[in-house]
């Protein structure tokens, strides 16, 4: 999951989703980065509309759980 999250952070910060940036984010989080997965992810995301995917998820019924934890 962390690889995909890294892409999402870059998407929000407006930075390019490339191998260097994804690697940097993951390393900052202490992840032992696998170069091949970064490569594969970056390549795969080239054909994906991230905004749309993010909005689709947001539009889906979000989980009810809610404030409980807040107390």
């Amino acid at each position: 999951m962390e690889y995909v999250y890294a892409a999402l952070i870059l998407n929000e910060s407006g930075e390019e989703i490339n191998e260097d940036n994804v690697t940097a984010v993951l390393e900052a989080a202490g992840v032992d980065v696998e170069e091949s997965r970064v490569k594969a992810l970056v390549a795969a995301l080239e054909d994906v509309d991230i905004e749309e995917a993010v909005e689709t998820a947001a539009a889906a019924p979000a989980p009810a759980s809610g404030g409980a934890a807040g107390g």
Binding site: M1, R37, A44, V54, A57, A60, P63, A69
Partner: protein
């Protein structure tokens, strides 16, 4: 109605008529609601049993129409409006029930009856879908003749769908009378037909008296819903609107929290869930398994 006009007429009529009118006037004045009912076509024996059924809640009084009209005019008070309904075979009905109750009672006492050729259908005549129970034979042709969808099936004559064979207001044919009789369909409702009621100063016609309680219930519901909507939309707190207003306000705060990704303890569980959903959605669009951890692979 001018007093002098009725006085002039009174002089010219025989004593027994005066007495009859006086009795009718007594009858009319002794009830809160008085109506005119159509008794045409009701056999006298059935009329007797209807009288008995009404006993205690309403009373029937028959007389010559001219005398009935005279009595209605004599009472005045608005009752003379009922004279327009006095024609053909009619009777007066009096009750202390409200006119709606009277109408309901009269409708309930109606009984089905066969209809004869030459009569006008009071409502649409429908031959219902189903097994007629009649053995295969010429009857299937008779059914088709009058416009019913009929065929032979499983050893008997079946009507394959509800078939309207005559529209209200049309005349019943010999053929149709025969078919309806064979099937035992009685399309008429025979009973006392209320033409008009005068009750405590107000004249009612049957269409005003046929109360659809369901419609009133629906109106109560929509009135209550309208008030709720108004109270909530105008943010006017009442016992009913306040829970909705609170929920709405809480929902708005939650929406804002999610929308702006506010780091509030009440919002974060949802934000985390949302982030997770986003990751999964995004991953679902990546068709290279190598780019994904096992848990996200399709």
């Amino acid at each position: 109605m001018s007093g002098s006009a009725s006085a002039r007429r009174t002089e010219t009529i025989p004593e027994w008529k005066k007495e009859e009118v006086a009795e009718l006037v007594d009858f009319l004045e002794s009830y809160q609601s008085v109506g005119v009912v159509d008794v045409a076509g009701i056999p006298s024996r059935q009329l007797q049993s209807m009288r008995r059924e009404l006993h205690g809640s309403a009373e029937l009084r028959m007389s010559r129409n001219t005398l009935t009209v005279r009595a209605l005019e004599e009472v005045d008070d608005g009752l003379e409006d009922l004279t327009e309904y006095v024609s053909g075979q009619v009777a007066l009905v009096g009750t202390n029930d409200n006119p709606f109750g009277l109408y309901k009672q009269l409708e309930a006492s109606k009984t089905p009856a066969p209809i004869s050729a030459g009569e006008v259908a009071p409502n649409d005549i429908v031959i219902p879908e189903g097994d007629t129970g009649v053995d295969p034979g010429p009857f299937v042709g008779e059914l088709q003749q009058v416009g019913a969808a009929a065929r032979i099936q499983d050893g008997s004559i079946q009507v394959t769908e509800d078939s309207k064979v005559l529209k209200a207001g049309e005349e019943v044919s010999e053929d149709l009378e025969g078919v309806l009789s064979e099937l035992g369909i009685e399309p008429k409702e025979v009973g006392l037909d209320l033409r008009g009621v005068f009750s405590e100063g107000v004249l009612f016609e049957p269409d005003e008296l046929a109360i659809d309680v369901d419609e009133y219930r629906a109106d109560i519901e929509s009135a209550a819903a309208a008030a709720r909507n108004l109270a909530v939309n105008a943010e006017y707190p009442t016992a009913q609107s306040t829970p909705t207003l609170l929920a709405k306000a809480a929902g708005e705060a939650k929406a804002l929290g999610l929308f702006a990704a506010i780091e509030d303890p009440d919002v974060l569980p949802d934000l985390v869930a949302k982030a997770d959903a986003q990751v999964r959605t995004l991953a679902a669009q990546i068709d290279d398994d190598e780019a994904l951890p096992e848990e996200l692979r399709g």
